[in-house]
């Protein structure tokens, strides 16, 4: 690693910035398109918009029904990730601390669940959801995420608890706490870094998931943002300006959140996946 800013560092900087500019081209295309009217998109597809025209955004909010979709996405994401943290941390604690043959195999089953593609489970599960009348409900999708994201969540918690000394919980137990109290008052606060990682990883994948809500919530009135955008874009397929405005608006919440929390997001992703 070079310590000083040399000529080679300058060349590297120029190269990386050039890469970033090329990398940002889709963002440029989307943003400029959102401000152009239909005629200008035809006559001036690549250039900057001639005027800052906010019509598309107003129309998109109305016709894309993004606000109810945002509420659905919020409900589903909060409940899913909350349950994953709650149940995943408890399971990780058990798997990290109980040295039995049973818990070893339970752990291996969970780890295998990280790799297992859900396509095979999807067919019977869909049928079960229909029979139990869980399709078209928030609960059905939340249950789905609890199961599907549990393996990675438990894996992360187990690894983290293993690296912690056992003394804290031991001390709480000697002081007369029961296991439940010891976990929530002593151990859980110590798990904060890995909880952050678990929250970030699961929020990003639940909030952005497309396939599950398409299957379970399509046409139910409870669509999440990605499903809403998918059907909106197919409805207004030739109105590029409107579609671009809808996509910009729908992506804004998660992008703003990312920019605010980006240090933690990047750190969380990295440390969580480092194993």
């Amino acid at each position: 690693m070079t310590k000083r800013y040399t000529f080679r560092t300058l060349l590297l900087e120029i190269g990386l910035i050039a890469a970033a500019v090329a990398f940002l081209f889709p963002v440029y295309a989307l943003l400029t398109m959102g401000f152009k009217d239909a005629a200008e998109i035809v006559t001036n597809p690549l250039g900057l918009p001639s005027t800052l025209n906010f019509d598309n955004f107003g129309r998109a909010i109305e016709s894309a029904r993004l606000i109810p979709a945002t509420v659905n996405s919020l409900i589903i994401t909060v409940a899913s990730v909350g349950g994953l943290v709650l149940f995943g941390s408890l399971a990780g604690y058990v798997l990290a601390r109980r040295a039995t043959r049973m818990s070893y195999w339970a752990y291996m089953a969970m780890v295998a669940g990280i790799i297992l593609p859900f396509q095979l489970a999807m067919i019977p599960l869909y049928r079960a959801m229909v029979v139990l009348e869980l399709t078209g409900t928030h609960l059905g999708v939340i249950l789905f995420y609890w199961g599907v994201h549990m393996p990675l969540t438990v894996f992360l918690y187990t690894g983290f608890v293993r690296a912690l000394p056992d003394d804290y919980v031991g001390a709480a137990l000697i002081d007369g706490a029961n296991h439940w109290q010891a976990f929530w008052r002593v151990l859980f606060p110590l798990l904060r870094p890995v909880t952050g990682t678990v929250i970030i990883l699961n929020v990003v994948s639940v909030w952005n998931d497309f396939f599950t809500p398409l299957l379970y919530l399509g046409n139910s009135g409870f669509e999440t943002i990605p499903v809403r955008v998918y059907s909106f874009v197919n409805e207004y397929t030739s109105d590029y300006g409107l579609v671009a405005a809808g996509i910009i608006l729908a992506s804004l919440p998660v992008l703003v959140l990312f920019l605010l929390l980006q240090r933690y997001v990047i750190h969380g992703f990295a440390s969580g996946l480092k194993g």
Binding site: M1, T2, K3, E13, L16, A19, A20, F23, P26, P45, L46, F87, A91, Y93, V94, R98, S103, A106, G113, P117, Q119, L120, A121, M122, I123, P124, Y126, L143, G147, V148, M150, P151, V169, L173, I174, H179, F183, V204, W207, N208, L215, I225, P226, V229, Y230, V243, A244, I247, A250, S251, L257, F258, V265, I266, F269, A270, S271, L273, K274, G275
Partner: protein, 319 residues
Amino acid sequence: MTSSSTLESAAAPEVAAAPRVPSPRRRRPRIHTSPPWWFALPAFLMFAAIVAVPTFTGLGVAFTDWSGLGEIEHIVWFQNFIDVFSDKQALGSIRNTLLLTVVIVIVQNVIGLLLALGVHSRVKSRFALRTIFFAPMVVSAVMISFVWKYIYNPRPDAGINGVLGALGLDWLQQDWLGDPEMALWSIAIIVIWQAAGYSMVIFLAGLTGIPEELYEAAMVDGATPMQRFRHITIPQLAPAMTINVLLSLTGALTLFTQVLTTTGGGPGYATETLSTIIYKEAFIYGNFGYSAAIAVLLTIGVSIVAFTQLRIMRRREVD
């Protein structure tokens, strides 16, 4: 020590007190630090109900001609699997999935590694660059795919074609998604564009974990930058490499959203993947049994690849 032990001989209080009164040593409560097993119960019930049991049921469905409605009527044993190998569309999707996987895994990780090395340097804009490269990962693949669908439009003056024209590279202009020869690679570009920053972040985590002393020692010994990279950086990055390859591998093998939103599997069947075929066979054509059989093949494929890869990579990490 309490009054009860004062009656006993001072030499052997524990032994003497044992029958009736707990000895001081035994009276101290024994702490069971291992938590009760039922703490893990909710998580395992969810895992069982949503992942484990349906996966085994799916395996069973693969041996039937179930339509997804009503009861399962016929067990057809291996007929679905035999059919896959005479079904051009299914075979094409296997081929497409494998091609996409090879290209995505290699290119995404090479770019991710190069970006990580770049933003790990003294470059002044490194924090801004990290944000820019990573940002696409937090946006839904649906939105990303629609943006790219516009960028890939066949007009010579818009999107990528427009940029190529402006740069004087007219001969590179394509009908990116409409040309069956090109469409698969166009989709690979979308995936790589979105996920390269993810690989970068994991490599970056690996790079920050390398102790500085290793480089200092190597420099004292007169190692060239290339030697330092080859003998320190690369081996130290092995764990990050394992995770990156595994993630990109399973992601590419199960690719769905980007295909459905850009080409829907077309033109013809040129971009159909295993996941889109599984979805269509089950939920559009109502062939649940056949769809499950393809899903079984996908699961076997992913498992073999993932476990082999883990084995190879773990061995390398130990060395």
